[in-house]
């Protein structure tokens, strides 16, 4: 049996004047946690909306568990649990009643599943409190609980940690890992908080301007976020020239913030420093460091707009 759960072939979504998804080709394999990374408007949510049936593709094909076509996709979606953008809740109902609505519509006969799922997300003690009086974090947890109600084979969460406090973020992270490990649940999570994704996902999908720019595993990412010498000078162009002509290397990268990352001479910082000094370049920063997922993503898209740092 194929391990591919979701496959998109040349999937395109065009709105009136915007190309939201541009011929996306993607495979999601069973048992992994995928981190979906992209700026605002990159196409993450559009892709998730196509997968969950909320929107229709302009062209291309989508298959779930090897099945495509409108009818088949609908049937396969019963195996998915999802929370897209904001949790879909009835404000005047309690957490239990919200779960009951979802239990009935999914045709789950066992009522005890509601209590179990509410326990899982830490909402067991909300009693008769209506959802309209819930905090943002509690609503988010309830949205996740609804997505988990049918113990889905594929769990899709769009920005699940929005509004959660630090303790809540850790709880959800651990929950996702447990679901993946113990239930073999495949998880697709999109988030702006890249550091959080870095700690949760085993595979990363980078999307920008409606195109998949890279699919990378955590192992490959760690390799690529390797150590480098970060050089900050007052004259970037001259520094690049010195690296190429005096140090005979082109194994460096110019970052959007003007810092040059040199991947050679890692154990020979003095040679680099003296080469720059001999060329009368004023060095304002020279240190050995390594990339984070955020740095890596920024280097891939070549910009800094809209991407939030976890430190901010």
């Amino acid at each position: 049996m194929s391990s591919i759960i979701l496959e998109a072939k040349s999937l395109t979504k065009e709105y009136k004047q915007t190309l939201a998804l541009d011929h996306i080709n993607l495979q999601i394999k069973k048992g992994k946690i995928y981190g979906f990374i992209g700026q605002n408007g990159a196409g993450k949510t559009t892709f998730l909306r196509l997968v969950t049936g909320l929107a229709f593709p302009t062209s291309g094909t989508l298959s779930l568990w090897g099945n495509s076509g409108t009818e088949e996709l609908q049937k396969q979606r019963k195996r998915i649990g999802s929370m897209i953008e904001t949790p879909a809740l009835f404000p005047s109902m309690t957490a239990y009643q919200n779960m009951e609505v979802q239990r009935i519509q999914r045709g789950i006969p066992d009522k005890s599943v509601i209590k179990r799922t509410l326990d899982m997300v830490g909402l067991q003690d909300t009693g008769k409190k209506s959802v309209r009086n819930f905090s943002l974090g509690m609503r988010q947890r309830l949205g996740i609980a609804i997505a988990l109600l049918n113990t889905p084979e594929l769990l899709i969460l769009d920005e699940p940690i929005n509004g959660l406090d630090p303790a809540g973020i850790v709880e959800i992270r651990n929950l996702l890992k447990i679901l993946n490990k113990e239930y073999g649940m495949t998880i697709l999570v999109s988030s702006h908080i890249l550091e959080e994704l870095y700690q949760t996902a085993s595979e990363f999908i980078l999307i920008d301007h409606g195109k998949i720019i890279e699919e990378i595993s955590d192992y490959e990412l760690n390799e690529r976020c390797k150590r480098h010498i970060a050089i900050k000078t007052t004259d970037v162009q001259k520094t690049v020239l010195v690296l190429e002509e005096n140090l005979h290397t082109d194994n460096f990268k110019l970052m959007p913030d003007g810092i040059i990352r040199l991947y050679d001479y890692l154990n020979d910082l003095e040679t680099v420093a003296s080469a720059l000094a001999e060329s009368h370049i004023l060095v304002t920063g020279l240190s050995v460091s390594s990339d984070t997922l955020e740095d890596y993503f920024l280097s891939k898209i070549g910009g800094t707009k809209d991407v939030k740092s976890p430190k901010n």
Partner: protein, 231 residues
Amino acid sequence: MSNLLKTELYKLFHSWYFWGIGIFNLLLSSILLLDSKERSSNLIMASLYNIPLLYFLSIVFIALFIGSDFSGRTLNTYITAGHKRSSIFRVKLIVSQIGCIIILVFPLFVHGIISQFYIGEKLFWNDSTYTMVLLTLFAMITLCALPMFFAFIFRDMGKTLTVSMVLFFVMIFLLNSESAQIISRIIPMGQLRLISLQKVYSTNFCLFVDLLWNFILYFIAGSAFLHTDLK
């Protein structure tokens, strides 16, 4: 589809606005009886006479029941759970109609009981009574189809409420205009008024007009819902 039906009925009977609007409708209808009683032959007909005026409460109900499902994205959970859009549309219409009819019929039912058992008015159940009930039911279904149409077209509570209310006042205005005789035959609100005054022109014509309205409104609303991207 049965799961969807059960879910929607659960939502309907657990919604505060369904009960609230129902009770408010009864109170308002009872107050209006003071005026309409003089124009009608008995209490039921007087209560029926008020339905067009109280129709705005159905509009509020539909805006809340369908519109809030769109704006709160709760309808999306049916789609993401793998239900067919056509089934969702059908179930939403059925349950909304049930809710609307209960709200509109509730005062008729209560006033009917009062008229039969406390005032002693007798309603004879013959062919014309059954025809009147059938016509009333069809006219009510058609009345409720209008806000449902807007709810599926706009997919928003505010717009559904605003546009339907504007049309409600336009219809009231038209029923008080010089051409009220003709207009009342082709709009369900007018048909209800004719039924209550026992001045129905042609039963078949009324039923045909109602069916035509339903077909047009639901066909357009259904087509839009089946092919539209949701928020």
